[in-house]
Symmetry: C2
Subunit: 617 residues, 2 copies
C-alpha cells in the first residue's frame, strides 16, 4: 500500500493555490465560507495529491478512493482541488454558487465527484461508513476518507457513525477532523483541546492521531499510518486555524460564512498568500490510479422476479411479506443489502440476514447512521434497504431529506405504521411518516395492503431510480391479490366499482379492508361505493383519481396516519384544480394504547366511520 510521497514544496504550493481560489471564488460569489476552506488547505492538498488514488477523468470510478466532504460548507476548496487535479479549468470555480453552475454553495451529486450531498453537518461520516462497507461488499481496496469539522462533532450522528465504523472494523475508512476551534457563532465546545476529542474517538474504538493540520509531512505520515492500521478505522485530529494564511482572518472571530470584500481586502489576502508560494522546482504530481480498472457500463439488469406464492385469504402481515420479498430479491440481485437497527425480528429483515449474512448490516439502535450508511452504499452501487419501525425513521429525517437532495436510491422500509399497532401506544405508532416521505421529491411512497402487493412493491422500490419508501403494517391482513398481479409505481387497484357508485373511497394498507367492509355494509342498504387501493401514495394514480372524480360525486380518503401530509394530501394535490369534493378520514389527535380494532374506530378510520362519512355526503 506504499505510494511515492509527493514533494512537500509542491504540496505547499497546492495548499496555497487552493486557499487563493477559495478566496477568489467566494469573493466573486459574494457569499460562502473561505475561512473554513483555509483551515483545511493542507489536509486537502495532502489527501488529493499525496494520498488518494483516483482517475481524474472518471471521478465515479468504482475502485477510486472516496472523499466525503462532511464539512460541506468548505465546498469551494473541494471544487478548487478538483480543478487543481485537472477535472475542469480553475477559472470555472469562479462560477461558484451561480444558477448556471453545478458548483453549488454546498456539494451535491450533480457533480460527478460528489457521492452524497453534504451541508447538513454531522452526516458525512455515516455515508463514509456506507462507502467503506461497499468496498468490502464488492471486494475492492478503495479507501474512503471523510473530512469533518470540529463543530459538527457535537452531532450525535457522528458518534453513531463512530460506533458503527468500529463495530464493522472498517480499516478502509479514515476520518480527518479539521479542528479549527471556531464554530459559526463562537468557539466550539472543546476548542483546541484536541486531547479531549482524541479521548472520545479512542473510547469509540478508533485508531486516533493528533497532528498539526498545517504540517504536510505530519499529515502524510498520518495518512500512511491510517493505511497501515488494520481492524479498525482511523481518525486524524488535525489542529488547524480558521482563515490560515491570511493574517487578518486567521484564528479571528467573525469570519464564519463571510467572504472577503472585493477590492482591497481580497487583494491584500491574495497578495499575502502569493508571498507564501515557494520554489517547487517545477515538480508535478502523479495521481496514483485505482488498483482495478473500472467496469462501468456493465450495468446489472433488473432480474425477472418470480411471482410470490400466496393463497387468497391467507393471513400475512405486510411486514412479514416485506422480509420474504426482500430475501427472494436478494437471491436474484447481489447488490441488494439490508440494514437494521435492532428490530430485525419485528420487521422480518432477519429473514434476509439468515440467507445473506454478509449483506446484512446491524447498526443497533442508531437510525441516523443506518440511513446515512445506506446513502453511502447506494451512491456506490448497492441497493440498500434500511428498515425499522416507521416511527423511528423520523429519527433520520434530516438524513432522508439529504438523501432526497442527493437523489440516492435508498429503499426505506418502515413497519408498525399507525394506530393499528395497538397497545404499545403512540410513541411506537408512525403517523407522520407519509408526510415526511412525500416531502422528498422523486421519492416513491408505497403502502401495500396485502402480502402479494408487499412483495411486488419491494421489487418496484428496488429498481425505482432514487429513494423509495415502503410502509408496512403490524397486523395480519388477508391476501386479496393474485400472485401474478402487477403493482407498478404510480398505479392503483380498483377493488369495487359499479355505474351507480355515489362516492369513491381510497384506502391504503389496513384501511383498504375497512373500506371493503364499509362497501359491504353500504351495499346492504343499496348504496354502492367505489373502493380503490391507492398503494402508490406517491406518485399517485392521477388517471384513476380523475376517472373517480368524473364518475362519482365525492372522494373519501382513509388512512392510518394523521390527516396532514399523507394520502389525503396526495389526492387533494392531484385533484385540487378540478374542484372535487374531498373528505379525509385520518387520525386527528394524539392516540393512545388500546386494542387495534378499538383504536381504528376511536380515531376515525374504521368501516363504521367510512359508512357514516359516505352517508353524510
Amino acid at each position: 500500500m506504499s505510494r511515492p510521497a509527493a514533494p512537500l514544496p509542491l504540496l505547499k504550493n497546492v495548499a496555497t493555490r487552493l486557499r487563493i481560489l477559495s478566496i477568489r471564488s467566494t469573493t466573486e460569489a459574494g457569499s460562502g465560507h473561505p475561512s473554513t476552506c483555509m483551515s483545511a488547505a493542507e489536509i486537502m492538498a495532502a489527501l488529493f495529491f499525496g494520498e488518494m488514488r483516483y482517475e481524474v477523468a472518471n471521478p465515479r470510478h468504482e475502485h477510486a478512493d472516496r472523499l466525503v466532504m462532511s464539512k460541506g460548507h468548505a465546498a469551494p476548496i473541494l471544487y478548487a482541488a478538483w480543478a487543481e487535479a485537472g477535472l475542469f479549468p480553475r477559472e470555472q470555480v469562479m462560477d461558484l454558487r451561480k444558477i448556471t453552475s453545478d458548483l453549488e454553495g454546498h456539494p451535491t451529486p450533480r457533480l460527478p465527484f460528489v457521492d452524497v450531498a453534504t451541508g447538513s453537518l454531522g452526516q458525512g461520516l455515516g455515508a463514509a461508513v456506507g462507502s467503506a462497507l461497499n468496498a468490502r461488499r464488492i471486494g475492492s481496496d478503495y479507501r474512503t476518507y471523510a473530512l469533518l469539522g470540529d463543530g459538527e462533532s457535537a452531532e450525535g450522528a457522528v458518534w453513531e457513525a463512530a460506533a458503527a465504523g468500529a463495530y464493522f472494523g472498517l480499516d478502509n475508512l479514515c476520518g480527518i477532523t479539521d479542528v479549527n476551534r471556531l464554530g459559526q457563532s463562537r468557539q466550539t465546545q472543546l476548542g483546541h483541546d484536541l486531547e479531549q476529542l482524541a479521548v472520545r474517538w479512542r473510547a469509540f474504538g478508533w485508531h486516533t492521531l493528533v497532528v498539526d493540520g498545517h504540517d504536510l509531512a505530519a499529515l502524510q505520515a498520518a495518512f500512511a499510518e491510517a493505511r497501515a492500521t488494520s481492524g479498525r478505522p482511523t481518525m486524524i485530529l488535525a489542529r488547524t486555524f480558521k482563515g490560515r494564511g491570511v493574517s487578518f482572518v486567521e484564528d479571528k472571530d467573525g469570519w464564519h460564512g463571510r467572504p472577503l470584500k472585493p477590492g482591497q481586502e481580497t487583494d491584500a489576502a491574495i497578495a499575502e498568500l502569493e508571498r507564501q508560494l515557494v520554489d517547487d522546482g517545477g515538480a508535478t504530481f502523479g495521481i496514483p490510479a485505482p488498483s482495478a480498472p473500472s467496469t462501468a457500463g456493465a450495468a446489472t439488469p433488473r432480474p425477472d422476479v418470480p411471482a410470490p406464492a400466496y393463497t387468497r385469504g391467507d393471513l400475512v402481515a405486510t411486514r412479514e411479506a416485506f422480509g420474504t420479498g426482500l430475501t427472494r430479491l436478494g437471491a436474484l440481485d447481489a447488490r441488494v443489502v439490508a440494514l437494521d437497527a435492532d428490530v430485525k425480528n419485528s420487521t422480518f429483515s432477519d429473514r434476509f440476514e439468515k440467507a445473506f449474512p454478509e449483506r446484512f448490516y446491524q447498526f443497533f439502535i442508531a437510525e441516523q447512521v443506518m440511513v446515512g450508511a445506506a446513502m453511502g452504499l447506494a451512491a456506490r452501487g448497492a441497493i440498500p434497504f434500511p428498515s425499522t419501525f416507521a416511527c423511528f425513521l423520523s429519527r433520520a429525517a434530516d438524513f432522508i431529506r439529504m438523501a432526497g437532495i442527493s437523489g440516492v436510491g435508498i429503499k426505506l422500509a418502515g413497519s408498525h405504521a399507525g394506530v393499528s399497532i395497538g397497545e404499545d401506544g403512540p410513541s411506537q405508532m408512525a403517523l407522520e411518516d407519509l408526510a415526511m416521505m412525500r416531502a422528498v421529491p422523486g421519492c416513491a411512497v408505497l403502502y401495500p395492503c396485502d402480502a402479494v402487493s408487499a412483495e411486488h412493491l419491494v421489487v418496484e422500490a428496488a429498481y425505482h431510480p432514487g429513494p423509495a419508501y415502503i410502509r408496512t403494517s403490524r397486523p395480519k391482513t388477508p391476501v386479496i391479490y393474485a400472485n401474478e398481479e402487477a403493482f407498478p409505481i404510480g398505479g392503483s387497484k380498483t377493488l369495487r366499482t359499479s355505474d351507480r357508485d355515489v362516492a369513491t373511497v381510497l384506502g391504503v394498507g389496513v384501511t383498504v379492508f375497512e373500506a371493503l367492509k364499509a362497501a359491504d355494509l353500504l351495499a346492504q342498504e343499496g348504496i354502492a361505493i367505489r373502493v380503490i387501493d391507492a398503494y402508490s401514495v406517491q406518485p399517485i394514480d392521477v388517471a384513476a383519481l380523475e376517472r373517480a372524480a368524473r364518475e362519482t360525486k365525492a372522494i373519501l380518503t382513509v388512512e392510518d396516519h394523521y390527516v396532514t401530509g399523507g394520502l389525503g394530501d396526495a389526492v387533494a394535490e392531484a385533484l385540487g384544480p378540478r374542484g372535487v369534493r374531498l373528505v379525509r378520514l385520518g387520525v386527528r389527535e394524539v392516540p393512545r394504547s388500546g386494542p387495534p380494532d378499538v383504536l381504528i374506530d376511536r380515531f376515525g378510520i374504521s368501516a363504521a366511520r367510512i359508512v357514516a362519512a359516505v352517508k353524510q355526503l
Copy 2:
C-alpha cells in the same frame, strides 16, 4: 444532602414486588416488556424508596426529584413503583395498556408522574438535561434522574445529551444505565463490557461508576456518591440481567417484548419470585419530602407586551424580528428561555443571550439535545424557544414527534426557510418543515411575513398551550402591518379584497409579497384578486377560507415549501368537503444554488407564476 438509608431487606422486597407486578400486569395485558422491567427492579427500588425526594400525592411538585424513564418500554415497573409508593392501588397496574387506563404501553404525561413521553429510545437524557437546567433556573435543589437502557446508548442523541450535561456542569443530574446486555433482537454492541461503556462516559466528561445493578447497597452508595459529586453529572452503569429473578427468563434470548403466558408460566415465575421475599421485620419506608414547599397555583399571568415600534416600509427580516421580539418578551416573563445550536448570529437569538445570558443555553451543533432539553424545560415550567435553521429542525424530528405526544410547550423557531435563502443551496433550505410541524397535533404553525407579525407571533407562540412553531425567512421584507395589529393564532389578514375578485391567493412569509405584486400586475389588466396572509398555517383561518370559497371562483396557495404537507395541504383539508377549486404553487423538485429572486421564479412561486396561474383559471 445525606438521607437515612432505607433498610436493605425492605428494599429487596420492594424490588421483588415490583418484578411480580411487572409480570402480572404484562401477562394480563397480553403484551409488554416484563424482562426489561426485571433487570431494573433493584435500581427502581433504590431510587424510589432510598434516594428520591418527592411528595406522593403531588408528583408534579416543582421541587420534587424527577425520574425520566428513558427506557420507556419498562413502563410497567414505573407504574408499579408509583403504586408501591401509594399513588394508586397496586391492582390498578393490572389495567396496563387498556383503552380505559392512562397506564399506557409506554409512559405519557397523561400520568401526573411523567414529565415527557418516552418510548422512542435515546431521548430521555436530553429531557433530563432540560429538567436539570430548569432546577438551576428556578434555584431549586431538586435532582433529576434518568434511567437508560444499554441498547439505547447506541443513539447519537444520548451522546449529544452527554456532551451537554458535562458542558453545563450539571451535578444535579444522574443517569443510570441498566446494562442488561440484551437488545430486542440480539446482544447489544458492547454486551456486558461495562468498562468499554465507562470509557465513553468518562470521555464525555461524566463522573462514571460501574456497579452491580442487583446489589442494593452498591446502588445506594452510588447514588450517594453522585449526590456528593460537584461540577459534573454522574452516570451509574449498572450491570444487570434481563429477566432477573426468574430462572427460565433471566439472561435468556427471545424474551424482549414478550409477556409470560397466563397460567402455568406466569404462576411459576411468580412462585419463584415469592420465594425470594425475605423477612423485613415489617419495616416501612419514609419518602423524604422536597426541600421546599410547592408554590403551585401561583400561575404567572400572560404579560401585557407593548406593541413593537416599526415604521411601515422598514426592511426587516422576520428572523431578526424574532430575535427582537423574543428579547422583549424575555424582559416581561422570566420563564422564557432560549436554546441555540451555534447559529445564534443567524437566527438573532444572540439578542436574547446578550440581555439574559443566564437564560440562554448553548447546545453547539446538536439539535436533538437542544429540542430534548427544551422538552424537559417546558415540562418543568419554562417557556423554551429552541431555534436554528428550519431545515436543521428536521434533525430533531423524532423529538418533535415525541414533544407532540407529550403535549409540552416547546416553542420552536426555524429560520432561513425555503428557496428564498438563495446561494447556500438546497441543504440549507427548509422545504419540508411545515409538513413536519403540521403533523404534530395541536401544534400552532406560524409563519409571519413582516417584522410586526413576527414579533406578535412570538408572544402568541409563547402562550399557546402546547407546542408551537415559528417559521422565519432570511431576506429582509417590508413592514406592512401597523404595530398594534393583533395576530391571533387561527387568524389571517386579508390584504386585498373587492367584490370583483376572481380568485383568492393565499401567501405566507415571503410569498405574501409575491401575491401582492401579482395583484398589482393583474390589476393593471383589470383583474382583481383577493390576497390573504395566512400567517397561521395551523390552525388555519377556516372562516376566511370559507368566505373566500363562497366569494371567489378558485383559491391559489403559494408557499416557499414543497407542495406537499404545507399551506396547500392545510387549505385543502379545510375546504376539501366543499369542492372548491384549489391550485397550489410550491416547490416541486430539489432546488439549487442561485440568487433568491431567480430561485423564487424558477421554482414556481413568484408574482409572475401567480399571474400565470390566475390567468389559467
